[in-house]
Every structure is written in structure tokens, then in C-alpha cells.
Amino acid sequence: MRQPWLHTADTPAPRGVPDDFSPHSATRSAGGVTLAVGIALVVMAAGRSPEILDAAYGLPVVAGTETVIAVAEVWDGAMQAIGVPMVVETVRGVLSAGRG
């Protein structure tokens, strides 16, 4: 194994090459990381619900497409109800100030 974050690493990193990781890099269990990745994706999906709905409408018509569209509509409706897209658009406006 060559992963520096594993204390059992039995071979050194390539000579003289800097590294982002070290034996001191903090680690988590795969379960904890799955939870973090899942929540990050939910936050992203909340902020991008109109784009997700557009993407669902653009899917080819095959078995299951209607279900995907229905889920996307429910998700976008829920986000609209709590005002997420409005906040997102405000933030986008601030961040794009000065763009030519």
C-alpha cells in the first residue's frame, strides 16, 4: 500500500515529489464519508432544482422517464415552496457583478 494516510504505508512516496497527503491526514470511515458525500449532493441538488427539472424534461422517453420527471417536479416544487431558488438567484446576481 502506498497511501500516506495509512500508517501501515510500507513504501515511501516518490523521491523528492511533494504530496498533498501525509500520515497526519485526517481520515474517516467509509460510512461517514458516504454520509458527507450524500449530504453535499443533496445541498447541491437543492440549489440546482430548476436545472434538474429541465434535465428531466429533456430525457428521452423510455420506461421510468415519467417517474423521474414526477420526482424532479416534486423536488423543485418543494424547493420553490421554501424559497431556495430565490436565494440562489440573489447569490448568483451578487457573484456575477462586474462580469462583461
Binding site: 500500500m1 485526517a26 458525500v37 462583461g100
Partner: protein, 462 residues
């Protein structure tokens, strides 16, 4: 499939969850699954190219079985891989360049076939060579089963644009299962977010705002626009490529695999030789170990060392693509390295004035070389050089926002080198759920700050 897209986020979520599930419940299926997932990732571009990728992998594996006994197998393996690469990358260029000569000799014009370049071919071919040479040198054992070699070559985080991971570094990781109790979440997340910020926000905006328009038609722009485009491209290519590398390193880390660092604040270098120790480290060390040193390196006379440096840099330029601009880019770097060596300028100067001067000279050589790298042809470079001193031409394309983005890209090089480690220390104690919330919010912020659309990564064309 591009990293900064919704479809990739979905793909990665499925691969990530399945991978760790298999590590726990069915370890024997981990490597076959990674191979299938990587081929699915590559298949988004072209299914026939998946077959080509597998063919190179099987070829390298078969050569690896023989190469320890007889060096001729290594010659066949390296020659065959380079021939494969040359066919896709250089056939059209060579035929186009040879046509005037053929016509002048009374032959009909040569055919100019349009050969589609497989994504990542330069990277996976170099990795295949790394495997065969490492086996020959005894740095890694020949794999009895082709599966590990195929996983090494196709592993999706580095498949399209590197980093070029050495066989001796990666195969031991493939052979052993990743530890599901030790996944570097904070560092992996920071690398992915940092990479996305550099690519989506800085590189994309600088590219669409100033670089692409100016390089498309430099005669229509004033000196300040042209200068900003030159500096801008230097920052853009660093943000784009180091951003991609950071995302790749972070994704691999979340799956339990380690890639070495590929960029180390290259624009703070005080010499060209230092620049090449910080820029595209996986390529520069590959060229050093598999080309420069076998040529003799710096062991012979100064003249032979200069020849080896020039050859290595020009071939490094040609590796990027079949165009005279890449040859000129490599030759400029090679010549600068030779001059730097001849003048004894590789040592760091002691005074701050000397250091600033050396930094400015190094940085501007790099900027000038990147103009050659980005320009579609040498005539465009000439037009840009003339435009830089054409004070009659008004500069109207630049904005304060673009100037600030270019300055920010440069300023990032002068932040403390261990800033990411310090940030990791702050984030590490947080509960994974809170960490996910923080990463999700930052990810959303990056997507909102970025211009519409996702431009492909620059190095995908190589």
C-alpha cells in the same frame, strides 16, 4: 463525461457507494467493478476507443510477462505503444507538412485523413510505457493477471488527463484493498472544491472573457488586452490543469487510492529548473526518468547535457500535440534551461531584489512560452507581438473583474504552501454530516459563481 457536471456527480455517487460496499461485502469484485466503472466513464466519449484502450492495456500486460528476460520485448513494447500514439497524434500533421514537398517533386497531394484523437491517449500510453519499463527495471513485478494492469491504466480519475501515475506507485495499491476505516475525507473534499473553483470560476471566466477572443483575432485588440490575454492564459492553463489534477487526486483519495501531487505553486519559481519541479510534476518526472536520464542526463559534458535538455523539452512539447507552436514552446523552455545552466543561475539569489528580479524573468519566460503554446499558429504569435506595441489601437476588452481574476490566480501561488493542510486541520474535527453541509454549500457557491456552461479541460485535447 466531464468532472464538473451533474451527470458525473451522479456517476461518482453510484461508483463511490458501490465501491465501498464491495470493499466490505465482496472484495473480489472491487477491481472488476473499478474496471467496468472506468470503461463506462470512458465510453461516454466513445465506445470504440474503449476497445483501443483495452488493447493497449493487454499489449502492455503481455509485454510485461516477457520483458524481464529479454530487452528486445521492451523495445517492441515501447515502440509499439509510441507507434500507436504517433498514428493518432501525428499522422495528419506529417502528411499535411509533407504535401508541399511531394507536390514540388511532382507527386499528387498526399491524403489528409481526419483521425479522431482518443481522449487521454497521451496519458495512458505513457502509463503503459511506465509499466513495461518499471517491470524491466525490477521496480514492480510483472502482473500474472491482466486485471490489475487494466485497472491501473483505465482508473477513471486519472484516465482523461492524468496525473501520470507510475506503475510502481499504483499497482501495489490495486493489489491491496483500500482501508474502509481510513478515508481522507477532509483533504479529498478540499482538493475537489479547490480544483472546481480554479476550473469553473477562474479558468472558465478568464478564457471566455479575454483569452479566447484575443487569441482568435489579436489584430482587433489593443496592447493592454493582448497583455492581459497572455498573462490570463498563463493563469487559465494553471487553473484548468491543476484544477483537474486536484479533482482527480481528491476523487481517487475518496475511493481510497493515492495519486502524487501534480502542481506545487509553479509561478513562484525563481528559475526555470525550479518551475519544472513544480509544473506538471508527473510529466516532468516521467520525462526525467524515462527520457532525460536514459539519454545520459547531466552525467556527460556540458554540450551533451545541453543536447539532452533540448531533446527532452522539444519531445515534451511534441507530446502535447502535432504543431510547430508546441515544438517552439518546448524549444524555448529547453533553450532557457540550457542558458540558465550555462550561466549558473539555478541557485537561489540571496537578496530580495535579486529574488524579485529572478522571479520576474522566470515568470515572463513562462508567459511568453505559453503564448506559443496557446496560439493556433506562429503567425498569430507575430500578430500578438506586433499588437503589444501598437499604442494607437484602443484596449476595450479588459475589465476590472478579469484583471482581478488573473491577479487572484497569481496571488494563490504566494499563499502559504501548507494552507490546505491547515484548512484540513480546521475541518477534520467536524461531524461528517456537518462537513457534508459545508462542502455542499461551497460546491453550490462555486457553481453559482461560474459562467454558464462547462468548457472541456485544456489537457483533454492531448
Amino acid at each position: 463525461m466531464l468532472f464538473p457536471t451533474g451527470i458525473f456527480a451522479l456517476f461518482f455517487a453510484v461508483v463511490f457507494a458501490t465501491h465501498w460496499l464491495l470493499v466490505r461485502a465482496a472484495p473480489a469484485l472491487v477491481r472488476p467493478f473499478l474496471l467496468v466503472a472506468s470503461l463506462a466513464f470512458y465510453g461516454f466519449w466513445s465506445i470504440p476507443f474503449c476497445a483501443a484502450l483495452l488493447a493497449i492495456g493487454l499489449f502492455a500486460w503481455a509485454i510485461g510477462l516477457k520483458v524481464r528476460d529479454d530487452e528486445n520485448w521492451l523495445i517492441l513494447g515501447v515502440g509499439g505503444t509510441l507507434g500507436w500514439l504517433a498514428y493518432f497524434k501525428y499522422t495528419g500533421f506529417l502528411l499535411r507538412e509533407a504535401t508541399p514537398l511531394a507536390v514540388s517533386l511532382g507527386f499528387p497531394p498526399l491524403p489528409a485523413p481526419e483521425i479522431l484523437l482518443p481522449v487521454g491517449i497521451s496519458f495512458y500510453c505513457f502509463q503503459a510505457i511506465s509499466y513495461m519499463v518499471d517491470v524491466r527495471r525490477g521496480d514492480v513485478a510483472a502482473e500474472r493477471s491482466p486485471l490489475n494492469v487494466l485497472v491501473y491504466l483505465t482508473f477513471f480519475p486519472h484516465l482523461a488527463a492524468g496525473p501520470i501515475v507510475r506503475a510502481a506507485h499504483f499497482l501495489p495499491q490495486v493489489a491491496a484493498l483500500p482501508d474502509r476505516w481510513r478515508v481522507p475525507l477532509a483533504m479529498g473534499g478540499l482538493l475537489i472544491l479547490g480544483g472546481l473553483f480554479k476550473k469553473m470560476v477562474l479558468a472558465n471566466e478568464i478564457a471566455t472573457g479575454i483569452v479566447d477572443p484575443v487569441f482568435r483575432d489579436p489584430a482587433s485588440y489593443g496592447p493592454f488586452d493582448i497583455a492581459l490575454a497572455a498573462y490570463g492564459y498563463t493563469i487559465q492553463i494553471w487553473c484548468d490543469f491543476s484544477g483537474y489534477s486536484d479533482i482527480a487526486i481528491g476523487l481517487a483519495a475518496l475511493l481510497g487510492y493515492h495519486f502524487p501531487k501534480n502542481f506545487d505553486q509553479p509561478f513562484r519559481a525563481l528559475s526555470l529548473s525550479e518551475f519544472w519541479r513544480r509544473w506538471h510534476i508527473s510529466l516532468s518526472t516521467w520525462l526525467r526518468d524515462y527520457l532525460y536520464k536514459p539519454l545520459g542526463g547531466s552525467r556527460g559534458t556540458e554540450g551533451r547535457t545541453a543536447r539532452n535538455l533540448m531533446l527532452t523539452m522539444v519531445l515534451g512539447g511534441i507530446w502535447h500535440g502535432a504543431a510547430w507552436t508546441f515544438v517552439a514552446w518546448g524549444a524555448l523552455h529547453g533553450a532557457a534551461l540550457v542558458i540558465e545552466r550555462a550561466l549558473g543561475l539555478r541557485a537561489v539569489p540571496s537578496g530580495w531584489v535579486g529574488r524579485i528580479l529572478r522571479w520576474a524573468i522566470t515568470f515572463h519566460i513562462v508567459v511568453a512560452a505559453f503564448v506559443l503554446f496557446r496560439a493556433p499558429d506562429l503567425a498569430t504569435v507575430g500578430t500578438m507581438a506586433a499588437g503589444l506595441v501598437d499604442v494607437e489601437m484602443p484596449s476595450e476588452a479588459w475589465t476590472w473583474r478579469l484583471l482581478a481574476f488573473v491577479a487572484l490566480g497569481l496571488a494563490l501561488h504566494f499563499l502559504p504552501a501548507d494552507l490546505r493542510q491547515r484548512s484540513e486541520a480546521v475541518l477534520a474535527p467536524l461531524h461528517p454530516a456537518l462537513l457534508g453541509l459545508v462542502f455542499g454549500a461551497l460546491l453550490l457557491g462555486i457553481l453559482l459563481a461560474a459562467p454558464e456552461g462547462v468548457a472541456p479541460f485544456i489537457y483533454f485535447q492531448f
